[in-house]
Each structure stands twice: as C-alpha cells, then as structure tokens.
C-alpha cells in the first residue's frame, strides 16, 4: 500500500482545483466554519476537542478532512451540521450564521440544506427502504406529497437499489444500507452532503463503491464534506485537509 502525504495530494490535485477556484472565486462559500472551538467540561478538567478551526467549502467541492481517532473529526462534523453547539466560533451557510437561528429553524435549515451520512448508516429499522428515503421529505414537507414516492424510488435507482425498495434495512448488506443512507441524505435535494466515516464499517471493495457514488454526486453539482481516518479515500477528494489534536494542519 503506497501512501501519499497530504502535501503530495494537494500538489497532485492543484492543477484541477485551480481552475475550479477561479471559477468560484466570484461566488461566496457554501458553508464556512470560523474559528470553531469545542471544549468539553469534565469534572476534572476542561478538555478542548477543537482549537479554532476555520474551514470553508465552495460549491462543487469534495473536501475530505483526514485525521486519527481522537483528533476532533467527529466534533467538527457535529458542529458544522449544528448537531452540537460550539464553545466559540460560528458557522455560516450562504453567509447566514447558523447558530443565530432559533433551534427549530436550525433544524429546518439542516433538513433542507444538508444531507448527513453516518458511519453506522442509521436507517429506521421498521421502515422499508423507500419509506426511509421518503420520511425526510415528509418531515420537511417541501416536496409535493404526490411526488414523494416517485422521487424516493428515483433516488434509489440512482444509488442502484430500486429492486430492494420494499425491503427493510436488516434484509440488505451494510454497503447497500449506506447507499440507502445516501439516497435519504439526497431526499430534499440539499446542496451539501456531509459524511462522518461513511466507509468505516465497510470492507475495502464496498468502500470504493461508496466513494465512487459520492464522487458521482459531486460531478452532478453537489458539494461533499467527509471526515475519515482512511487515507485510501483521499484520492476521491478535490481538497484534503488534515486535522490533529483539534487543529487543522498546514
């Protein structure tokens, strides 16, 4: 297994991204984290998990944040998705400060603009595959009722699972479950997909298929932010950022 350093990756992809950056330079970033801090308070001491992270993602980017366990990757994802609240700092989505929104609006914002993919898939066990995709639309209620089922089946077709639409999650493999999770993340047509170790529980072949799927959605205009410790995944990224002990390197 040959391993490339982050610098090498950046160099390798710099040609391609340079053009992109020029293309988007007139556009404001899709999402932007500014000086994010997260300090966990334990009875013994304050443990900082993130120490001032600043990161922005432009439309159409595939950004991978790589780091070891305990480096603060998951904390970063949780803050950018507003699942957790930062101790300091802000997250701006299309220049709107997310943490200034009241809780319920933040939830709606998340449902509309972010598609989240978890390491352990997190599908609802009692719902069938297509219902798992549809529930996101039902919750947000922006897609007309009559179109929801059709759209759910269409998304499942895009991830190659239309023949399993009527099965429950337990009846399909882990890789297939992660595809469903991706379809669910795309249900409300969000501009940004956020994935936390999406291949962490999958074997190498299946992991590659999932990464290809993410790349295909980037090719169709979505942006992706992914955190992982798997350096093998880096070749799909348009930009790689390394995180260590709560700080971004370089």
């Amino acid at each position: 297994m040959t391993q490339l350093s982050v610098q090498e990756y950046q160099k390798q992809y710099s040609d391609r991204t340079l053009a992109d950056i020029e293309e988007y330079s007139s556009v404001s970033p899709l999402i932007e984290a500014r000086d994010l801090w997260k300090v966990y308070q334990t009875p013994s001491a304050d443990v900082p998990a993130l120490k001032g992270i600043t990161l922005s993602i432009q439309p159409g980017e595939f950004v991978i944040v790589v780091g070891k366990s305990g480096a603060g990757k998951s904390t970063l994802v949780n803050l950018i998705t507003a699942i957790d609240i930062p101790t300091r700092g802000s997250v701006l989505f299309r220049s709107q400060s997310i943490f200034d929104l009241p809780e319920d609006q933040r939830t709606r914002w998340r449902g509309k603009n972010l598609g989240i993919v978890f390491q352990f898939f997190q599908l609802f066990p009692t719902l069938t595959i297509w219902e798992n995709v549809k529930i996101s639309m039902d919750l947000l209620g922006e897609i007309p009722m009559s179109e929801r089922k059709e759209r759910a089946l269409d998304l499942l077709r895009q991830v190659g699972l239309e023949q399993h639409a009527r099965k429950v999650p337990a009846k399909i493999s882990g890789g297939q479950q992660q595809r469903v999770a991706i379809a669910r993340a795309l249900a409300n047509d969000p501009p940004l997909l956020i994935a936390d170790e999406p291949t962490g529980n999958l074997d190498s072949r299946t992991s590659e298929e999932i990464m290809d799927l993410f790349a295909s959605f980037v090719a169709r205009g979505k942006s992706v932010l992914m955190v992982t410790h798997d350096r093998g995944a880096l070749k799909w990224a348009s930009r790689v950022v390394e995180i260590l002990d709560g700080k971004l390197l370089g």
């Binding site: 949780n78 699942i83 998340r110 449902g111 997190q122 529930i135 919750l139 409300n188």
Partner: protein
C-alpha cells in the same frame, strides 16, 4: 422485541394507505413489540375498565335495587304496639300527615331446614291481602294470599333452607308448638334483610293459619308512609309519635317502640342504603388507585420506548424533524395505546359490572335487569383513557425529545456523565470490599424519576396492604371490645314471670356450670330537653358486681351497689348519638310510659349493637313493677373465666335442655361465639375485598419494578458487557440485578410502612363507617407490616427474574457492538 422484518396485518395496512412515513414508522414501531403493546393497552384497559366496572355497577345497583325496593312502596316508619285490630290502620290514615298506614303481624318463629337445623323465621301476616300496599313483596311462584296451613317463603330463604313449592315444612312457635305447613309459593321481598345476611328467614301466612297455630288474630306492627316528597328522620318520628298519641294510645294499645326501617337508613330508603354507598365509595377509591397505577405504568413504558428510540430521535432531528414533529409522533403513539386500551376497557367494564352487580344482587337479594352502557360512564372512561395517558406521557416525551441531537446520537449508552448528584456522592462514600454489591446499591438510585414511579407504586401497594390488615385488626379489636359485654359462655331468654332466684338456682344445678346470673331487660326512650323522644334504647338491670360483663369505662365509674340510687351507666353508642350526655349529668328516660330522671355515673365503650343503659337490677325491676323477675339468664362454666368454643356449646346445650325440661324457657340458648359469627363473616368479606385491592396494586407495582429493571438493563447494556468482559459469570449478573431489585423492594417497604401510618387509620375509618356506621378505635397491624415485608421480598425476587435472565443472555459481542 419482534423481528423488524416480520410482516403482519398492521404492516400491510400501513403500506396500503400511502401514509406519511412518520405515521407509518409509529404504527410499525408499535407492532414490532407486541408484548409491550399488550402491557400498556392492558394497563390502560384495567384502569379505565375498573372505572367502568364500578360506575356501571353502582348505576345498575342503584337502578335495579332501588327501583325494585321503591316498587314495594316502602314504609317510612314502624310502630310496634300491643296487639291491635286492623281498623287502627284506617284511623291512622285519617291523620293529615299520614299518606298510608297498614297493619301487619310479625311473629318470631323457627323453621326446620331441609338439613334438619332450626333457623329463625319471621312470620308475616298482612291485614288485608286485597289492599296490600305497603312494604309489598312480589310472587315468583304460586298465588297470594296463601290459604290455610300454607306458607309463602321468601325466595332467598326458600333457596337456603332448601325448599320448593309443594314441600312440607316444620314451623315452631313459642312454647315449642310445632306445625306442619305446605309451601304454596315463593315471593321476592326486597324489604326484608336477606337470610344470607341476618340469618332470619321470612315467611308469609294468612290470619286463619296463625289462629290455627294458636296465636291471637291481631296485629302488632303499624307500617306508615308519611305525606311529602322527601321525609326526614325527625319528621317520620314526629308523625309516628302523633299516631301513637292520637290513635294507638287513646284506643288502649301501648306502643313498645318506634323504628325507622333499615340499618341507619333514612325513611323510605333501602335498609342498606348507607352501607351500599360506603361500599361504592371504597370501590371508587380502588378505581382511582387502579387508574393512578396504570398511569405510572404508562410513564414507565413511554420512558422505555423513548430510551430505546433515543438514537432514532436524534437521527430524525438530524434529517430535519422539528421537536414539535417528534413530540406529535410520540403523542400519536400514546394515542394509539389509549384508543386500543379504551376499546378494550369498554367490554372489560361491562363484564366486570355485570359480575359485580350480580355478586351484590345475590347478596342483597335483588334482580339485575340488564347491563347497559350509559353515556356519562362512557364519557368518563373516554376522558380518562385518552386524557390520562396523554397527560402523563407528555412529561417523558418532552424530556426525551429535549435531549440535544448530539447527545441523542453519540452519548446515549455511554456511561460518562457530566454531573454527579449529591445522593450519588453520598452513596460513593459507602465502602465495601464487594464492588458488585455497591454496583447494585448505587445503580438503584441512578434514574431517580423512574425509581420514584416504581417506588410510588410499591409504596402505595404496601400502604394499602398494611391498611387492609389494620382495618381488619381494628374491626377484630373492636369485636373483642364488644366481647366484654357478652362475657358469658351461654345465655337463654326467659318468658315473663320467671323468678330470678329460681332461674339462677336452676342454672347452677347443671353440672358444668359454675356461675349464673339473671338480668332484667326493658325498653325505653330518652326524653330530650325539648321533650322530643329518641328511638328505642335497651335498658339493662344487672347486679352491679356482674361477672358476665367486663365494662371498659371511657369516663366516670361503674355502678356502685347502692339500690335505688338512680345511677346509670350509658354506652358510647348512646353518648355519641344523643347530645348532652356526660358523666355527672342528669338524663330523662321513659320506661313503661313513665319518665324518670337518672344521673349518668359512667360511660362505657362502644357496643355496636345499639344504645344501652345499665342500671342496678333492683332499681329497674322497681320501675317496671316486675319485682324479682328475670328476662335472661347468663352462665359461665367457671366463674371469672371465659370458656372455649367446645365449653360454650356444651354449656349452651345443657342449659337449653334443663330449662326446657324444667318448663322455664323454650327458647334456644345462644353462645358467645355464635353471637359473633355473623359479624366475622361480614368482616372476612371486607378483608377479602381490601386484600384483593392491595394484591392488584402489588401486581401492578411488581410489573412496574420488573419493567424498570428491564429498562435499566437496556440502558446499561454496555456496562453488562463490561462486567462480562472482566469476568462476571451468569450467577454474578443475576445477583447484581436481584440485589438492585431487593434494594428497591426494601426501600419501598420502609416507605410503605411510613405511609401506612397515615393510610391505615383513614382506610379503617372509612370502611368501618361504611359498614358499621360508627367510629371505632384504630389498631395498627404489625402482622400486616411483617407480612408485607415477606410479600415485597417475593415481589423483589420475582420482578428480577426476567430482567436478570435477559442480562445473562446478552452476548458480549452484541453488547459491545450496541450503538
């Protein structure tokens, strides 16, 4: 847990109706755990069904019993007088205040049952069968009126005596005159206290039959219905007094007593009206408790669901569900439980009320016409079934959805917590070299709200259990108190004209009788300061040094041996009923038409069987003019000692035989034990109902405890996995769960013991008032407390069985993979 992949009806229904996936999820989640679904809906059904059962049953009892009673046109007041002709009734009816008056003859007799036992019988003769209008009964078989040498039996009496129409029966009158009558009919008489309760059969004959039996063809009871809508006790007594003064006495018929029918009832009300009301009150308390407990169970279950679904709630939030949406999802979940529970509760309530009403009908001798579903009961049930679960579930739902998305997804199931409560810090100071035991002890107090519900239920059950025993022991203590006034081995009533000396001498001649004592009895009324008169009072003339009574003085002193001193001792029954009676005060008592003044020197404890005045034997016989006569002889096998059951029976038999042979009395003798047998039977029924109630509470509490331990294990799966990983064998895990269960049980026992100090006197007071219409001394039952300790330990062990098994069955890998 059911397999999520399992298909069933609910699954297909949800699929067919292309519903919002949220509702489908709720529906499927419900179906995926059928045991829990059943547990919750059943607990709602039990609580709400009990409400239906009790309200419906009381509705049925009031409708049918009271309607059947009213149909008989019940008398407001009875006047017992010297034998009078039936024309007196017409004269009484001439009074403006009297709506109806009817003459009746009641004769005390005995009837031999099919088993050959002599039972008490009241023979009734209605003056004018063609104008039989007051306290009517209705024929079920045969014709009314009966012909000569025929008898109509009350249906419950006939049933329990074992007779049918056409049978011949042996009836005995005073002086052992025996007659054979033919049963010509069966009647249903709601006016009479049933045979099953009073032990007195009712039979109806005509006057010719009675004359044939050697009785004078006259009447002794005037049954009066007073004019007016709602007649109060005082009005009824006033009217009776008027009849007595204007009709009976001027015609030369002295009145012995005036009585309002029933056991403390108001005029025109069913004889057990107050007792039924009291009993329904007890049942209503029970239904409220059942409802509260099912509420507790619902809270526990909803918390369990929310704990199981914490992660899913987090994911729902992460994909855009607002808190409002999630709250409404889980409220819908509860609503489904509620509706199914409500639907189950309706038939449960109907069947229960049918059973309860029939139980009462058999006991009180009335007919249940039909079981109906009334709108008001249905509305109450609906309100409780829907309102209570939603009301109690809203707290865990709001709590469960308040948790941050981050905590819901990532923190759940992990043991690290940020805050440590004072209680936990205190518990961490307890030192032991046995960490598994410490684990149980400290785990018990980790989920305080959940623990509070379980403890609450078990505490309530314990308080109820101990209160039931305390009520019973208060009742028996009271009975033992009453026993002081019935301190004989046997007693026999004497006819008029028997000499005291002769009776005592005869009794002492019997081998095996060591002590005999004759009493004089009379009846009187208390004349109040405003010259109104009380109901009849029993007047007892006894030797002041009597050995067959052990008076318990509440105030003052017992009678001193000073003849003609005009000293009286009254019982607490009279002292509480009538105002202005106290030690040192004077009271006016009318005996045999003359009013005398007495000084109260003492008040003795409650007798239950009615107001009584004690005075010196010689004083009473002087007032009644029956010098040296006795009305009752009381004997003891051995002076100063109460005999055993066998002794009582032996003494009673010898006494009866000797007095019969000597021509002194043809009455049956009575033992002390038989005097109390009916009391204790009623008390046993009460104890049974109360214990049933406590048992139900204990069952629900045990379900709650088991559920709580189950949820605790579910929440601490990882910890159990860790225990396994560091070397815990099955028995070690079982011990940890069992110890936790026992800690909860023990704490609930302590709390139950404390609560029972309040609940016991209240329950005892309510029950005793409902049953006996009196206040009594309270006695706490330590036996109940000890028994509950045993029961709660068993509950602790049984409740931990299933959760412990579940803990032992967990595979370490599954537990550690648990996300």
């Amino acid at each position: 847990m059911g397999k999520p992949g399992g298909r069933n009806l609910g699954w297909e229904v949800a699929r067919m109706m292309n519903l919002d996936a949220r509702w489908i999820k709720i529906w499927r989640d419900l179906w995926s755990n059928k045991t829990r679904f059943l547990l919750v809906t059943l607990s709602i059904a039990v609580g709400v069904g009990t409400i239906g059962m009790i309200y419906n049953a009381s509705h049925i009892i009031q409708r049918d019993l009271y309607a059947q009673f009213k149909r008989g046109n019940p008398a407001h007041v009875f006047l017992y007088a010297a034998p009078f002709p039936k024309e007196i009734a017409k004269a009484a009816q001439g009074l403006r205040e009297v709506k109806q008056a009817q003459a009746r003859r009641v004769v005390r007799a005995e009837i031999r049952s099919i088993k050959g036992e002599d039972e008490n019988l009241t023979l009734h003769v209605v003056a004018d069968p063609s104008a039989f209008e007051v306290n009517r009964f209705f024929m079920e078989q045969g014709e009314f009126p009966p012909r000569v040498r025929e008898i109509i039996l009350e249906r419950q009496s006939a049933d329990l005596l074992g007779y049918q129409v056409g049978d011949s029966v042996l009836v005995k009158l005073a002086d052992d005159r025996q007659y054979i009558l033919t049963v010509s009919g069966i009647a249903h008489d709601v006016n009479e206290i049933p045979f099953a309760i009073l032990g007195e059969a009712s039979g109806y004959v005509n006057m010719d039959t009675l004359r044939w039996m050697g009785e004078i063809p006259l009447y002794n009871r005037l049954e009066v219905i007073v004019e007016g809508e709602k007649v109060g006790k005082d009005v009824a007594l006033e009217v009776a007094e008027k009849i007595k003064k204007r009709v009976l006495e001027p015609a030369g018929y002295p009145v012995f007593s005036i009585r309002i029918p029933g056991v403390g009832s108001d005029p025109g009300d069913h004889w057990a009206h107050n007792q039924i009301r009291g009993f329904i009150l007890i049942l209503q308390i029970m239904s409220v408790m059942a409802t509260l407990l099912s509420g507790g169970l619902i809270i526990n279950t909803i918390s369990a669901i929310l704990i199981q679904q914490t992660k899913q709630i987090g994911i729902l939030r992460a994909i855009g569900a607002s808190r409002k949406q999630i709250v409404s999802m889980y409220l819908l979940n509860v609503l489904i439980f509620s509706i199914v529970g409500f639907l189950l509760a309706i038939p449960f309530g109907l069947i229960g009320s049918w059973w309860l009403a029939n139980f009462a009908a058999r006991f009180l001798n009335f007919d249940v016409s039909r079981v109906t579903l009334t709108w008001d009961v249905l509305l109450i049930q609906f309100g409780v079934a829907i309102g209570m679960p939603l009301g109690v579930a809203i707290f865990p739902i709001l709590n469960g959805t308040r948790i941050s998305v981050y905590d819901a997804i990532y923190q759940f199931g992990l043991s690290s917590r940020k805050r440590v409560s004072r209680l936990e810090k205190w518990l961490s100071r307890i030192r032991s070299i046995n960490p598994p035991l410490l684990l149980s002890l400290r785990n018990t107090f980790r989920q305080k709200t959940r623990l509070a519900f379980t403890l609450g239920t078990l505490t309530l059950a314990g308080a109820m259990f101990i209160a039931s025993f305390s009520t019973y022991s208060s009742l028996t203590a009271q009975i033992r108190d009453v026993e002081r006034y019935v301190a004989f081995d046997a007693r026999i009533s004497l006819p008029r004209g028997i000499s005291k000396v002769a009776a005592e001498r005869e009794a002492l001649r019997i081998e095996g009788i060591g002590y005999a004592e004759a009493w004089a009895l009379s009846e009187g009324v208390l004349v109040r300061a405003d010259h109104s008169e009380s109901q009849g009072i029993e007047i007892v003339g006894l030797p002041p040094n009597s050995k067959t009574i052990q008076p318990k003085l509440i105030a003052g002193h017992w009678l001193t041996p000073l003849p003609n001193s005009r000293q009286v001792v009254v019982n607490a029954d009279l002292a509480t009923e009538e105002a202005g009676i106290d030690v040192g005060k004077e009271i006016q008592i009318k005996i045999g038409g003359k009013t005398h003044t007495f000084t109260v020197v003492g008040i003795v404890s409650k007798h239950i069987f009615g107001p009584r005045v004690y005075m010196d034997y010689i004083s009473l016989t002087r007032l009644t003019g029956r010098h040296n006569e006795a009305d009752e002889i009381r004997v003891l096998a051995e002076e100063g000692k109460l005999g055993s059951l066998a002794t009582q029976d032996l003494v009673a038999e010898k006494l009866q035989e000797r007095f019969r042979n000597a021509g002194l009395s043809k009455q049956n003798s009575v033992t002390r034990a038989s005097f109390f047998s009916e009391f204790t039977e009623v008390f046993n029924i009460i104890l049974f109902v109360l214990l049933l109630m406590a048992g139900l509470l204990a069952l629900v509490g045990s379900l709650g405890l088991s559920g709580t331990l189950g949820i605790n294990i579910m929440e601490r799966m990882r910890e159990i996995g860790v225990l396994r990983a560091v070397g815990a064998a099955n028995h070690a895990l079982v011990k940890i769960v069992l110890a936790e269960s026992l800690v909860v049980s023990f704490v609930s026992w302590v709390m139950g013991a404390i609560t029972s100090a309040i609940s016991s006197p209240i329950l005892a007071a309510v029950v005793i008032y409902a049953v006996l219409e009196t206040q009594m001394n309270f006695r706490y039952s330590l036996i109940g407390l000890a028994l509950w300790f045993g029961v709660i330990l068993l509950i602790g062990v049984f409740s931990s069985l299933l959760p412990a098994r579940r803990a032992a069955q967990l595979q370490v890998r599954e537990v550690l993979d648990y996300e």
